[in-house]
Symmetry: C2
C-alpha cells in the first residue's frame, strides 16, 4: 500500500490568540505555553466539512488523476451532514459511479482508521486506488467562550490518494499500520465529547486525555516499528496527532527522539482533529527524502489510537 | 465470513399515526397507504444511539460470548456523540482493550458498509470476531411537524457478531457482499440530508429517493446473486432497507418475487435507518431454515447502496 499524493485546504481566516484574550482573558503567552498554539484557521460562512473536503480533493486533482478512484473513505467528527456525508459529496464532485463510499469517525484518530479500512479493501481486491479525505470544521461545534478548550480548535481538510501498487518512486510505502481503542479505560467516553444536540465539543477531563495521549502514542509507535522490523534510531520524523505541542514533545521524549524530528503544525493551525496529521504530511511532502522513515501516530477522544510507519 | 448471532433493542414508547393526525392532519389511512407505517418507536428521555447500542449488545451477550471480540464497527447517521461514538461506548461496555474501534455513516446503507469493513479486517488477518452495531435515534433529529417526512422515522438498534470461521451449524454464511455509491446522480447529495447544526433530517426530494431506491436495490441484489452463482428463484427471502413499504413492494416486483418472500418491519417500526434490516434479521432469526438464502439490500441518502446474500 502506497501514499501516492496528498493535498490540503485551509480556510483563509486566521484567528490569533488575542481573540481569546479579549473573550476569555487568556493571554497569548499562557496559550502558547500551555498548547503551543499561536493561531488557527476558521472556516468562512458557507464553508463546512463537505465544502472543505471538495476543496482538498480539487487540489489533489492538480497532482494526480482521480478519474479511476474506486473507493472513498471520508472522516470527520464535525459533520456538516451525516447522511450526505463528506465522502458522498466528494463522490458527487468526482462524478464516479458505483464505488464504495463511507464516512467514519474515530475522533482525532480517524486518519489511520480510514487508511486501515482502505488496506482491507485492497486485501479483498475490492479496490486499488482509494481516496481518503479528512476534514474538520471544529469552529462550527466549538464554543469560543469555553475557557478550558475553546482556544484549541482550528478548521482544515486534507485528501490522500492511496494505491495498492507503487505508482512512482516518490510514493510513500506503508510499512506497518495499526489502530486500537482504549475506551475500556476510566474516562475514555467522557473526557472529550461532541454531542451535536447538546453543547458541541467540550473537554471536561483534559488531564486524563493528556496522560493517555502521552501513553498510547509512543506505545503504538513502538509496536508499529516492531511490526516492520525497524528500530527507533531509523526514524527520521515523527508526526503525532496535532492536539497540543506539550503532548507532542512528551511523545518525542518517551520515544527518546530529539525535537528536530518532530513534525508540527499546531502552532499555526491549532487542533484540526483527524485532519491535522494529513495536513502536515501535505505541507512537508516535498521536504522528505528517499529512504526516510516517518512515524504517524494518533490519539483521540473515545480513546482511540493508532500508528503507521511509512518510507519514502 | 459468518453471522453467528444478532440481537436488537427497541424503545418501549409506541407512537401511532394518530400523533401525526393531531399534529399535521395526516390520516392513519393516508400514512399507511403511502408508507405502510402504522406505528414506530420513540426513545425515552436519556436514551440515544449510544445507550441503545449498549442495550442491543447486552442482549447479544445473552446469546454469545463477546469477551474475545477483536473489532467493533458502529454505524449511525443520528449520532449522540461524534467523538465518544457508539462503537467506543460499546467497547467501554465490553471492557475489551486495544482493538480497532470505529463508527461509520453511509446513511441508511451503513449496515452493509460496516460488514464490508469487517470483511476487510478478516482478509488482513487483523480480526476474526467482529461486532457490528447499528443504532438510530431518528426522533432526536426529526421534526414531527414536517408534513413531508416527519411521520416516517423510528428509533432502534441492533448488534451482530460476525466471525471469520463458522461457529455453529446455525450460522449464516455470507456468500457475497457489495456496496456502492451513486452520489454522482442528480439529487443524491440533497434529496435526504441531516445537518446537525441546521434543521435535522429532512427529505426535500422524496420522489427522487423513491426512484433511485427502486432502481439500485434490485440491481445490487442481482449483482450480489450473480457473484455467488445463485439465481433469483433460489432466493427464499428479500430484506430490503425499511424505508417505505411501497419501495419494498416495488423491489420485489422488479425482482419478480412474490410478496410472501418480503421481510418487513416498517409497519411496526417505521424507518429505523441503518438499523432496520438488522432488527428484521434479529426478529426473524429463529424462523429461517437450513439452506435458505436471504438477500439483504439497502439504499440510503447520499445515494449509497448495497446487497448481501446469506445462507443459513
Amino acid at each position: 500500500m502506497y501514499i501516492h499524493a496528498v493535498s490540503h485546504y485551509l480556510p483563509t481566516q486566521v484567528v490569533g490568540n488575542e481573540h481569546f484574550t479579549q473573550l476569555n482573558g487568556l493571554s497569548n503567552e499562557w496559550i502558547i505555553e500551555r498548547t503551543g498554539i499561536a493561531e488557527r484557521r476558521k472556516a468562512a460562512p458557507g464553508e463546512n466539512t463537505n465544502t472543505m473536503s471538495v476543496e482538498a480533493v480539487a487540489r489533489l486533482q492538480e497532482q494526480a488523476d482521480l478519474s479511476d478512484v474506486d473507493l472513498i473513505v471520508g472522516a470527520t467528527y464535525t459533520p456538516h451532514d451525516t447522511i450526505a456525508t463528506l465522502a458522498h459529496v466528494v463522490q458527487h464532485h468526482l462524478g464516479i459511479a458505483d464505488i464504495p463510499v463511507v464516512s467514519i469517525s474515530s475522533a482525532c484518530s480517524s486518519l489511520l482508521n480510514a487508511i486501515e479500512i482502505v488496506e482491507g479493501y485492497f486485501a479483498l481486491n475490492k479496490a486499488k486506488r482509494a481516496l481518503v479525505v479528512v476534514s474538520e470544521h471544529n469552529t462550527a461545534y466549538n464554543n469560543d467562550q469555553d475557557k478550558v478548550s475553546g482556544h484549541l480548535w482550528g478548521d482544515g481538510a486534507s485528501a490522500l490518494l492511496i494505491t495498492k501498487e507503487r505508482q512512482t518512486e516518490g510514493d510513500f510505502e506503508v510499512l506497518s499500520l495499526l489502530t486500537g481503542g482504549a475506551a475500556h479505560t476510566g474516562k475514555a467516553t467522557e473526557a472529550v465529547v461532541l454531542k451535536p444536540l447538546e453543547q458541541g465539543v467540550i473537554m471536561p477531563n483534559g488531564r486524563d486525555v493528556f496522560i493517555n495521549a502521552c501513553t498510547y502514542m509512543p506505545k503504538a509507535s513502538q509496536q508499529a516499528l516492531e511490526r516492520c522490523g525497524l528500530t527507533i534510531d531509523q526514524v527520521d520524523y515523527v508526526l503525532p496527532h496535532q492536539a497540543n505541542l506539550r503532548i507532542s514533545r512528551n511523545v518525542m521524549n518517551t520515544l527518546g527522539l530529539p525535537e528536530e524530528k518532530l513534525l508540527s503544525n499546531i502552532q499555526r493551525l491549532g487542533n484540526t482533529g483527524c485532519a491535522g496529521c494529513a495536513i502536515a504530511l501535505s505541507e512537508n511532502w516535498s521536504m522528505f527524502q528517499p529512504g526516510q522513515h516517518i512515524v504517524v501516530t494518533v490519539f483521540g477522544g473515545g480513546y482511540s489510537y493508532g500508528a503507521m510507519v511509512i518510507r519514502k
